[in-house]
Symmetry: C2
Subunit: 245 residues, 2 copies
DNA sequence: GACTTTTTCTGACGATCCGTCAGAATCCTC
DNA sequence: GAGGATTCTGACGGATCGTCAGAAAAAGTC
């Protein structure tokens, strides 16, 4: 009885993963408009009704995708945060993580963007939104922790009413905006003189943290070497998969 | 003959504006999903076919909205760029402009976000996309001009392969990301300790430019006073409309 | 002003997609 | 293997998009 129920539950769980994977792929290949519930049902060879037993609407499904993405991101940030090094290096590790993610999982990024843009949230199930909420919060908290560590170690002094949230917000906004512009650029970025977003972002991260006087400044420390160490020690597998290093 | 044709053209032009205004309002009130061609047609009291004579698809219409927004932004940047002052002050003026716009025209921002997210671009008319392209470029060029002025006046020295585009990209990303997060935050930003996005952005702008060593640094100049001057001299009307100042 | 031609407008229509639900199919229990 | 519980199915109603044949209006001609 119990094992039977468990097997069934396992099947259901597997199918949910299958649906999400299929949707992810479809979203990347055919965009938001090309993602339809009928197509998903056809692809996984179940009926539409079955799909709807997992997700109450198309929007609900997309929110679930974005949550998967946030879970991944949260894991990456957690790993970045445990890097043995200076707070600023750990912050850099988080920045690297944030850059790895959309490259490793472009379809998830797409889902995230759609959620933020259209009024998807309203049509998704409450419970689903709560899950998204909590994963996003986890990411934010991890980053805040790094900044607070920098403050407590006196590498960073916050002035004029700036708070850890200020810096996290700045980094977050910049990263988010950059990925957004990159993935959906109306004008190809190269034409504007942006050849490699990672490099440009790197410049800007360093400038931003230098501007906050987060020690050691970029001029006093070889952060390029740090980046290499971080990729080797924390994200070696992922970096290898992307052909970096 | 000619005047008759012109009258007709004028009517058509007016109707186009009417459609765009209606769509704008609807987009803000009911979101992307709630914006339908039938509803627009009903509201303006023309048939759907007539609406389709102006815009080849719903996506096309949204692109047109985003272009309107970019035109406005481009105008604002142009005005900001003419501010009589230091390059960094002019840069700041552009930042202020970028902050005024979404507050003055929230529905346009919404359109812009939708475009970047969903695969709207593919379904819009080529010509329409070109228009969007060129307005976006205009904005970018204006900002680049300010940065280049700073370089030529030796207020700013670009190192390590950074270019004017690097800085513009950083500012643009941060601004874009911040507005995005604000307008569509899954988790309300206040709960994360971000009470006022403008203030937090201001901190981050200053830090970023300080980090690039753009003289005079925030510590050596009263940029708060500059901001007040800019709002008074360049954007007084808009600031008044928003109740700032 | 009456008739023709051209332009513009209309709304019914086919196609697509979403989300539902009554009934079929499968699984479980005894 | 009968009967009941659970799961699955796909046809269906409703909504929207975009089209297009024909109606209506405007412009042109005599």
């Amino acid at each position: 009885m119990a094992p039977t129920a468990t097997r069934k539950q396992r099947e259901i769980q597997e199918r949910e993963t299958l649906i999400l994977d299929t949707a992810r792929e479809m979203l990347l290949e055919r965009g938001y408009i090309g993602l339809t519930m009928d197509r998903i049902a056809a692809k996984i060879e179940y009926s539409k009704g079955t799909v709807y037993q997992h997700f109450s609407s198309k929007e609900d499904l997309i929110v679930a995708l974005a949550t998967q993405m946030n879970v991944k991101r949260s894991e990456f940030f957690e790993r970045a945060s445990t890097f043995q090094g200076l707070p600023r290096e750990r912050c850099m590790a988080a920045g690297l993580a944030a850059n790895l993610i959309p490259r490793l999982y472009p379809s998830w990024l797409r889902a995230e963007q759609i959620i933020h843009a259209s009024s998807v949230a309203e049509k998704a199930a409450m419970e689903r939104m709560r899950a998204l909420y909590s994963t996003e919060n986890a990411c934010f908290q991890t980053l805040s922790g790094i900044v607070r560590d920098a403050v407590s170690q006196r590498h960073l002094e916050l002035r004029d009413g700036a708070t850890p949230a200020t810096i996290v917000f700045g980094l977050w906004s910049m990263t988010y905006g950059a990925h957004f512009l990159e993935s959906s650029a109306i004008v190809p970025l190269e034409e504007k003189g942006i050849a490699d977003v990672s490099i440009e972002l790197d410049h800007n991260y360093n400038a931003l943290l230098d501007g906050f006087q987060w020690k050691p400044l970029a001029g006093d420390h070889d952060y390029r070497a740090s980046a290499e160490r971080i990729l080797n020690e924390v994200f070696s597998e992922e970096a290898a998969a992307l052909g970096i290093l």
